[in-house]
Symmetry: C2
Subunit: 159 residues, 2 copies
């Protein structure tokens, strides 16, 4: 682990935005706002992963500044504290628009692990994206497989 | 400035997600995706500010865990690297749905200052939100005034 990566992970811890259990006893949150906000996090993950993916596939020229920015924003989105984004009562079926499986609440440790895996992949990508195109390509697989694994386990079917 | 705040600001710097100029010469980005992603950042800012505001107004009970989480996510949203979110050609009038004034590109220093002001207010809020309701209320004004000032200077009329 490079010093930068160590620093970056420490940074997440200092910000307190690392993995944390989903909410279970907080009943005064705006549930529709929480669902909309989760979708916003996913939009940000998708957009920034797409920017990196386009470079990896050669569909956009490699640009270190843009690639690092995209990886940083991916890491920031992945680091969002979930206690305020996943209040009880926002699983699929309980509220319109949600595709969050009940397993997010019944298996919070597993979900936290999945989220942490994306944080680590994104943090690795910050370093790789600033190195060169080959390094970016090498880091892309971990980002993509993390997305797929989490969606399979914790995202329900289309509403 | 408390040690925690210093650490937190250092954390932002270590993550590289602190203020940075908007993009001007990157032409291969998904412009619609950038606009959608900026709206997602605003959704996240609005939701988490609302969670804190509800507590400040007494419309929701003070809950330190939720308040800190909301402030952390507000800080993460405010820290997003703008080089990939504000590509040239995404100002209001140039692309559907954008309310980003041309001043964001013509006055990048001013815009960076406005964004940094929100980062600082959000970082202060992380500390305040974990202290008590009175501290949270005290930190709320800076968050609200930052939102208003930036919207007045850099957000165009409704489309």
């Amino acid at each position: 682990m490079t010093r930068f990566l160590t620093l970056t992970l420490s940074a997440c811890a200092a910000l307190g935005v690392a993995a944390s259990a989903v909410a279970d006893g907080h009943s005064n949150l705006d549930l529709e706002g929480a669902v909309k906000s989760r979708k916003s996090v996913m939009t940000l993950v998708s957009y920034h992963t797409g920017v990196l993916g386009d470079m990896a596939k050669g569909e956009a020229p490699y640009d270190a500044e843009i690639a690092v920015a995209a990886a940083e924003n991916l890491a920031a989105a992945a680091s969002m504290n979930r206690v305020v984004l996943y209040p009880a009562g926002t699983e699929q079926g309980a509220i319109a628009g949600s595709r969050a499986k009940a397993e997010i609440w019944s298996d919070p440790t597993g979900y936290d692990q999945a989220a942490t895996t994306l944080q680590v992949a994104a943090t690795d990508m910050v370093v790789a994206a600033g190195t060169d195109l080959e390094a970016l390509r090498g880091a892309m697989g971990a980002v993509g497989s993390t997305c797929r694994a989490c969606h399979e386990a914790y995202r329900g079917p289309r509403n």
